[in-house]
Symmetry: C4
Subunit: 374 residues, 4 copies
């Protein structure tokens, strides 16, 4: 790796950058926003905006996933969340939103101790399919082997395997771990898998045959990975690394283009746009969608990491409610906080820097501005 810095004698580390340390710099050309396209296609599926909803119970329910699809993005249901553990999770969603700060994690752990019911996986996916939008569901790498056949039988267009860190090489002495390469090869549907946080990890996931790689480590607003296990992969560096792996793998594979999807810690339109400028093909959003009027979290936001029974690495976080899903995606905005009109601001940023499509926009110039403050 380039630019290793000596932390102390005998230990080096790379200087890695967060999205907040980067800003987009205009070039000498501008363009009419009407000539700009934000469309994104992965496998046979085309979307109006390069946005995937995070499979988190505070973001995705069958109902919001359907609405996301109708609005031109991809919604993904968490197949290990409340909707596959309970027939009617709505009272529990309301309860979680009301829990006092101090006891929230403990009660979330209890609620998620309820076992997953395979028949609910089937039922939820059918609900989404019936609405006529693309169907996508997510499992963790730990439970993929147990539930994937239920998922495939129920029918999905895109299969998501998402964990804090997913490696192509998981080692265990007590059980045979999921062989990602064989698993993906055998599946008929495109798989999006991650998080990976650097060139090597992303390259290995690409070699499994994945259609897309999630870049991130669970670094969003609800995460506590840095404080609990010391892990953090600053996103600007992680995205640029993974994009380089995409280019190298394209060559190595003789032309297979694997999509890079930035996942985690992208709370505003500004950071969303920077992620694409740094090389991402699409972005998985949590917090911005949890702010929707329709969001199941009722203004609260939490992820899978908060429900671990003994080692929670995430927290329920208040994000508030600021507008409808449609306003968040398509505007109009009546406030310049970067929380609404993701498509509109993206289009404007592309016009301001002179690019007409997302692939070109990945070449956008950026500067390091360490003292950036929003």
């Amino acid at each position: 790796m380039a630019q290793e810095i000596e932390i102390g004698l005998g230990k080096k580390g790379r200087r890695a950058y967060t999205l907040d340390e980067v800003s987009i710099i205009p070039s000498r050309r501008t363009r009419d926003p009407r000539d700009v396209s934000t469309s994104w296609q992965v496998d046979a599926y085309e979307f109006d905006v390069p946005i995937i909803g995070a499979p988190m119970d505070s973001v995705s329910s069958p109902k919001t996933v359907i609405e996301m699809g109708k609005l031109g993005m991809l919604g993904v249901l968490d197949l290990e969340g409340l909707w596959t553990r309970y027939e009617n999770p709505e009272p529990l969603l309301e309860e979680i939103a009301q829990l006092p700060e101090e006891t929230a994690t403990a009660r979330i752990q209890q609620i998620y101790a309820e076992p997953i019911k395979p028949e609910l996986i089937t039922q939820r996916l059918h609900e989404i399919r019936d609405a006529g939008v693309y169907v996508a569901g997510a499992l963790s790498p730990q439970l993929t082997q147990e539930y994937y056949s239920t998922v495939i039988d129920a029918g999905v267009d895109i299969f998501v395997i998402r964990g804090t860190v997913v490696s192509a090489e998981h080692v265990s002495s007590s059980h045979t771990p999921l062989n990602l390469k064989k698993f993906i090869y055998d599946l008929d549907v495109p798989v999006i898998v991650g998080g990976a946080t650097n060139y090597t990890a992303a390259m290995h996931l690409m070699r499994t045959g994945a259609a897309g790689v999630l870049v991130g480590f669970g670094g969003g607003a609800t995460s506590a990975n840095l404080g609990t296990i010391g892990v953090q992969a600053p996103m600007a560096t992680a995205i640029a690394d993974a994009a380089e792996a995409r280019r190298d793998y394209l060559d190595e594979s003789g032309g297979r283009y694997v999509h890079i999807i930035a996942d985690g810690g992208i709370g505003s339109t500004g950071n969303f746009i920077k992620s694409l400028a740094l090389g991402a093909d699409a972005v998985m959003l949590g917090t911005p969608l949890a702010r929707a009027v329709e969001a199941p979290g009722h203004g609260m936001h939490w992820g899978a990491e908060a429900r671990h029974q003994t080692l929670p690495r995430g927290k329920r976080t208040e994000v508030g409610t600021i507008g409808t899903l449609e306003e968040i995606l398509h505007g109009p905005s009546h406030c310049a906080d970067g929380y609404t009109n993701f498509k509109g601001y993206l289009r404007r940023a592309m016009a301001t820097t002179g690019y007409t499509n997302l692939k070109e926009f990945q070449r956008c110039g950026v500067a390091l501005n360490i003292s950036n403050r929003l």
Copy 2:
């Protein structure tokens, strides 16, 4: 560009610096403040201080523009603001100042939806001309073609074209964009145009025949470009880049000197002075003038970006009221907050570092002091 740093594999960016990261360092010589001149001349027009008022409704009305002229600086009226949309905008200015935080942008969007009236452009410019000061008005690049002949017919001494990012090369498939080079060549009056944020963009604007180039991207106190579209051009780096373009263009053009005008994010006398030390010929001020007793914003401050109907990239911001325009420009100061006596502190800084005129002061030594705190 020099000093590119690897953000991640395959993506580099320059380290760019804000004014806050820079400080002026005294040299071995000092000078009597009485021997120092702060005068500035662009084209045939000479000013006592190198300050241009920002064409923003919270700063400039016909009345304050006239007063600015009498105080030795250049006032510029926003020809797309309230004064050309309404016969009597004063009640609306008062209403905007009183709006609650949450709904301010939405109401501003409504108020500015009123169409521009060409006869009011004429009327406002005549009012200023009648007062005997230099006349300057600003249009956005989008509306320049529609209204410039009205402006020229009404008569201006200096014509300002100001947008967040103005490029010499704007591309559109649906209409023929303004050809800046031809437009400026055909005009009889000197044109100040921008913002540009780097060497190349500034150089291209110089080649259009502009008398002055605004350096900035809408980065002032009322701006939200970083949060909404991820764009930011740290001003210390942008000014130094543009000054280098000025030197190179001077050579390329065989002697045409194009003025560099720092625009945006300069709230105090300290940053004003640093801008000049970094190579600016003059500075466009918004916030400092919005703090005047006479300011039409009544202690509130907002720019054109806040009135975009679907994509606001700016906010109404409270700046307070601290003294008369005269005190802000010429003092005396009775408080060391850097909000008053712009001329006096500039003179003092020049004396402290041993320079007698602004052109020499551009060679002033500076240091990078990353942990600067005001």
Copy 3:
């Protein structure tokens, strides 16, 4: 030393890094947490977790030291603390916890003015021995000569000599200082000694024959060394330096492995884990254990530096009470603040980065992430 930076002409300094500036980066491999071992052995003594309790009265009493031993870590009694000055210090511990902020240090100075009683040293160590756990006690370098024979006669398994800065070469004109090399050679028990903060100091302490070297300078939550005497040794750099000294000394000595124990400023599971990833063999914890229900400090925390009669370099600090010692060490966690389940999160971090034992984990990849915020 590498990477010296010019602070000014004629004065250079190394850029040194704190734990907060470092983060662990996952590699391409993950591992089953059940295959991971956190065990640590120093001399003949083996522990379930690589944790030593700091010898501070807010952390260690005979009772908590015994409990620490039973929980698989090493507890160390401060042999110059309240338990060897008073027959029954419990009312004083309660009083200290209740003192108002302004007068806390002054009253602490009074309470610790009471002389140390050798017979209490003997009595306390016997209490611990009788409970069947490993016995360890700490003296300062200043008082080691006066009390060590009492300690040895009472019987300890591990002898700790701990000061802010302990050097192998202490110079005095008025008395013969402790000859550490001879002293350690003559003792029958393994000695852990420090703090050392760089390669040279650590190397010199290794050459005294110590079994372990404490790396730190009194930089924990209760310390005020930076503000009072300007001394600070950022821990990430200090640990990496000392680990390099360990490697070089291993070669120089023909195979003697001296343990590196990070000591100070490690308040969370995240920083604990980073210390090990940077090369530490074990970690001495203060604040995390002072947060225990059983902690003698009753939610307050202070160290030896606060009791200096004329030059206090530490403060009583509120750390709160968050769970039992068992929860802090072994979980389960019901909150992701990084304050409980040190063993569990360590195991998880090792699994996430693909390592099976602590020695291998010292090779873990890290990144510099200067704008880290927990």
Copy 4:
């Protein structure tokens, strides 16, 4: 100058460091504090601690200057302050301490508009002389020519000329400026002059024949130079630069040793000690002495910069009252805030790093720790 960094094309600046970015690193040797000497000698005058009181009305009155002398440091009276403008300034000192924040500067400007009375200069200096301590008084470079003969006739041991920036080469078209070289040569008493902020400026002041050079730019707690005129000279870099000039001048002059006195922005024992470690021979203290029970400022602190009639570059700042002058200089401390016992902590820092006198301590190792927080 070394290590110039490109701010933008065509403008470079040095990275300069503040005291907060530096920390002292222990070496491999420690020393008995009783073997450490903190004494300092300039010309024929010897002091117990290397501390000079800042000539500011909130710090120095005839009474406190006398007490400072008795406590082993050098007190300096501001000969342009209230004590030479008013027969009895005590009611005014009390009034200033009570002024509301908003109007403090305006009223300070009024109070200091009262003319200086030469006979009061004489009277104040005689009072100090009569007490049997060294006599030192300070003038600004602007008024030195007008009042120096009064000062010399009254009798001083050390003459101080102190301004924000004092250059050896002051240029004026309207009057003949003070020729420092000739002036100092003609005087019979040693002169301390400054501030200088870099190698060249310090070297030029040394060549005037000064006994000591103040290093600083008015950067203390009461200063607003950065905000008002953009000037700041980070102290760690400035001190190291000036110390290098001292070494070079020593050679150039064939052995004349000019003392470097750090002046400004040194509020704690930690920063005081770091200044000496970076190469200063002594330190001029303002804030720490303004915190004395005896301080004329009654817990408030202000300097000459606040009284400028039209361009104040300083503010009255609340610093509080924390102990007697004796406690501040010699302790004992009952709080680890770094506000008391300057001598004790210095002695301790020297012992911790193994040095016996101040000259040796200038070689002390330091590290750059950018994320330092007190």
